[in-house]
Symmetry: C2
Subunit: 295 residues, 2 copies
């Protein structure tokens, strides 16, 4: 727990899985003196009040952002622009505007032109989550041991970056600074492509005529159920990810499709050696993830 | 626990994850009076002796099968034929020969011609497993609440099928009788295709030049790590699955590729509506799996 809060006043814009997890850990670790939450959904606002995880809950993002020294966007990417247009008048010089979105290049590009002078724009992304959504899904331990990536534009005040990094470390994360375009490429393969594939195969299985839905469900323990977990993630959030990271996702998808086609050919022609060689090789990556404590 | 054993003498041919889990649950539930194990690997046999999960451990499958009323093949599919050629002389009339392999059409086709008269051939498949391999990976609870599918050829003695079903129920499973070709189609989508895709994407990620292996590992919590778990499964077992269920896997792979191509097009042209519609639809399947207690 932090002896003095890293920020005096935190505004969380959006309070789903990530926002509500942040509210919980910020309070537990004393990372901010006051937590104001804004959410576009009345049902969410009501629930946040009931959960008692914020000091103030506002419909208007500008009210939440008023006097905040850290404003964190925790909505789907498509809601960033309207939220910032609504709250920018409330941003004071020296405040940090950051976010938790899964794509980073688009954030500085879209938001920088909207901000008043003196506001530090530092896009960020905690690599953490579950397939559950909404304020009840959040928990304070979500960021424990996970990476938070910050992508400050060139020329950003290093003191502001350090302060935001201290905030994420306080939430339990390890912090990495990265170029936004590189972030988007890395996440395209470690997160966006896996989600796209999981959504696809679950859709394929749902559309079969010769295999019933109850068969798919009953016999899912052979591997399919893990894909359904991933494919239960928030639809709007993921729609926005694919729309905003198009080039990197298409690039990774192209490579994946080539590799899948090669395997398809190996199966068609009974090339057991090629199959076994790949299957042996992929075990090493799993070992690396276990060793890095990210399993 | 069964008051009298379902089988007097059980022979497990192969003692990896599945075989050693069976040995453990059979003893705990008193499903067989005596358990004989055979494994081609000297290291595995030594370990099975140390674990004390069998009454006899043999190098020669014929020695294990001698006098058995249930012989269960628990090796990769490619080892079935040599094992049965070695042990068929030891099979007595009335004995049941079954297996736990992930493909079923090939089993009756390949093994029936090898068997002496009076032996009941009843292929089977417990839909259960983990990514770990070997006798230490097994545990008695593996089959609890999972489905075991039996695919008896037309004309099989119903009493023998009932006895084998009672054995699997004793191990904690729910039992379903199915046509082998239909089994292979269902499992192609719920198990084989998910594994193929997981192996592929982990291989794709390992081959990238512009994203390092440590980046893939560190930022795997965004979805990728779940694929690496699946792609850590036993390479020889899975090579044999794809070689023996070629047509059904290629059929499902064709459908998957069509669906993925449609999504790729939606991303390229920014069709957010198509993306969101699929992402909403796939949540329902997850809900079904949770309701069916297979999550």
């Amino acid at each position: 727990m932090s002896a003095t809060p890293v920020f005096a006043r935190l505004a969380l814009i959006g309070c789903g899985l990530i926002g509500s997890s942040l509210a919980r850990v910020v309070r537990r670790q004393n990372l901010a003196g006051r937590i104001a939450v804004s959410d576009a959904s009345e049902a969410v606002r009501k629930r946040v009040v009931e959960l008692g995880i914020a000091d103030a809950v506002e419909a208007d993002p500008a009210r939440a952002a008023e006097g905040a020294d850290l404003v964190l966007l925790c909505t789907p990417l498509s809601a960033y622009r309207p939220a910032v247009e609504a709250l920018r008048g409330a941003l004071r010089p020296g405040a940090i505007l950051s976010d938790v979105g899964s794509v980073k290049s688009c954030v500085a590009r879209d938001l920088a032109p909207l901000l008043p002078p003196g506001v530090h724009l530092i896009p960020g992304h905690p690599i953490a989550g579950t397939e559950h959504s909404g304020p009840d899904a959040g928990f304070a331990e979500l960021f424990e041991g996970r990476w938070a990536i910050l992508t400050p534009p060139a020329g950003t005040d290093p003191a502001a970056v350090d302060r935001l990094a201290a905030f994420w470390r306080g939430a339990g994360s390890k912090v990495e600074i990265m170029d936004p375009a590189h972030h988007d490429l890395v996440l395209a393969v470690t997160s966006h492509l896996p989600h796209l594939i999981a959504y696809t195969i679950v859709g394929t299985a749902a559309d079969l005529g010769n295999v019933t839905r109850s068969e798919v469900i009953n016999y899912s323990a052979g591997g399919f159920r893990d894909f359904t977990r991933i494919a239960a993630s928030d639809p709007v959030m993921w729609r926005d990810v694919f729309l905003n990271n198009r080039d990197a996702v298409l690039e990774m998808l192209g490579r994946f499709t080539e590799d899948l086609t090669a395997l398809q050919r190996a199966i068609r022609y009974g090339d057991g050696k090629a199959l076994e060689e790949l299957f042996v090789r992929t075990r090493a990556i799993r070992r690396g993830i276990i060793d890095a404590k990210q399993a």
